[in-house]
Subunit: 379 residues, 2 copies
Amino acid sequence: MIRNIVCARKMTVMTGMFAPTFFCYKPFSSPLSSFTTSHPFSSSSINHTFPSFSLSATGTTCSLTWDDVFRISKSETAIEEDPSSYLQGFFHKVQLCNRASDKQSEFVPFIVEGRDVGFIHNRFVEHLRGFNDVFVFPNDGGPLGYYVTLHPLLKTAEERTSAVGYVVKQLGEEHIPGIRNELYPVKSSFSTPAFFSLERAAAPYFGIKAYGVHMNGYVELDGQKHLWIGKRSPTKSTYPGMLDHLVAGGLPHGIGCLENVVKECEEEAGIPRSISIKAKSVSVVSYKDIEGYRYKRDVLFCYDLTLPENFVPNNIDGEVESFKLIPVEQVAEVIRRTQFFKPNCAIVIIDFLFRHGYISLENDGYLDLLKSLRIGDWS
Amino acid sequence: MIRNIVCARKMTVMTGMFAPTFFCYKPFSSPLSSFTTSHPFSSSSINHTFPSFSLSATGTTCSLTWDDVFRISKSETAIEEDPSSYLQGFFHKVQLCNRASDKQSEFVPFIVEGRDVGFIHNRFVEHLRGFNDVFVFPNDGGPLGYYVTLHPLLKTAEERTSAVGYVVKQLGEEHIPGIRNELYPVKSSFSTPAFFSLERAAAPYFGIKAYGVHMNGYVELDGQKHLWIGKRSPTKSTYPGMLDHLVAGGLPHGIGCLENVVKECEEEAGIPRSISIKAKSVSVVSYKDIEGYRYKRDVLFCYDLTLPENFVPNNIDGEVESFKLIPVEQVAEVIRRTQFFKPNCAIVIIDFLFRHGYISLENDGYLDLLKSLRIGDWS
């Protein structure tokens, strides 16, 4: 059963993010090392019928509709049931969130109060040198080597937040695009107090761990689980028009995880507190993604919410264009065979597939794929 | 709702396994380092009313009944709801499966075809020296250092199985007690072929990874999940009279995981194939436990099975004395506050508690506890 909530319309989706940036990382080199692709929407080297995407004149945009999603989700390609290759499409989605691990050596540790809190690209470090009352650049000649830390006169969280905030503002959109005026806590681990807070857009430039909450909302109909899938607004600055699970949000400084889930449920899907408060924290995924000077180290707390059969999500904040209720098996096929989903949402749904028994142990690479869902430091 | 299937009777439970072998390991030193206990059945330093155990004259046995279980499961101790200490009882159960990690240096790598497959205690190695047509003891003077491997003339899995089997037989009950005449595969990882097969009882003496299947069977009644809990037969050679989840079994050579679940479901709980075939593989836990010359490296594939409301388990093989259906929250309390459960079953149920949202992120140590469920190499 698929519920059509908003009539899908043609829209433009950036495909720059679909560039095949494949690499092979060690934890599961065997299933990944043979990975190839020939189509920007393919995540598998196996031939199957692709939806009719309209690539634009520039080659950087294409159209994605719900019809495309359903065509893929229901297509049957018996050859792909081969347990030796079945998981490859999932591995690829994990790769998309864990790019360029070989570039880690270009980053310098960012240390506060003797604890690792981040990584800064050695060329981005040069932008910080002018602010020598905020940052210092020791080289202990010992195990740490060369690293970046805060000026010792910045002793309190408030002083640090203010001083680093000043630097971020000075560097401006040229060096740190997309300023959101939203503060993220800078921590060495989730359960310890924040050393200071940092503008959200700056987090990947300082390589700090960013915590978030991601929620799968599902309904059980006639014994079959269905996931509510959102299609992002075409005007979103990131991943416009792509697919999402039901609700997600970064975890800003000073708000609890469940409270944030409740807030995002209201804003993104119109789920009232009386329902969203029943969301359960069920797992954690993490990744580390390097792109130029940016080092994203995200830790996502996964929530599940069983929704009433008659509940229909309704986006409030304009960030979601439409929702559909899709059987879990079909969602799995879309993830496996396409890059329609925002990459980190794909990982969160793969985690759901494991926990709800949709990925069989009989498939080669089961343990490697499960391991790959927590590649980043998730302390 | 608690279903009483077999009238519980007083029985004797060994308490040797309850000796407080506490230690502090690094991944989560903070929640564990302050751990103390004063009662063999306590897993918390907080005072609460213990059930009336009858310690025997020798002090090595005591009685455990379902009444004891229910008294603990329903007791309310508000002070323990403190999120800074709530998880300590769970951490302790993980510790019980991960003892003596500081003794790892007493073990020598066991290498086959250049791959690590196990660890052998340096004094147990002395027992193998007489069999120099089976084992050799190189020292490469390089990164491997001193290690144990098989004689190069043993080329096939069959030759190795036969030769090592001969050694195990010669060493006999004196050195390898509890021979079961059941073969376990010796592998470097789950998805690779076995190098040879080894008597199950010998597995910890060679430190090989042993794979198993553990299944939680549950029923949803009025929106509340209940777990079927078994009480082991008093005549079991291991952990007699203690609590178990519904079904578990080692994974012998040559049988698939789900097939093994189906087989164990039939033998241990009388669950027909028509129901058990619906069991879902949902997670993995692992631990590494050192006790004398034994190095247990277990990897347990966790299954969930939703059972019909009217299904009542019925033990066939005599290994379970009785079953009860207990609300998950109460099972959690028993695990947290006592050592009534066979230790590795406690870990599998803690994993269930995470996946089904019974452990809140708001508790200190959430991520450390989640991490601790996979301390052993689970490749």
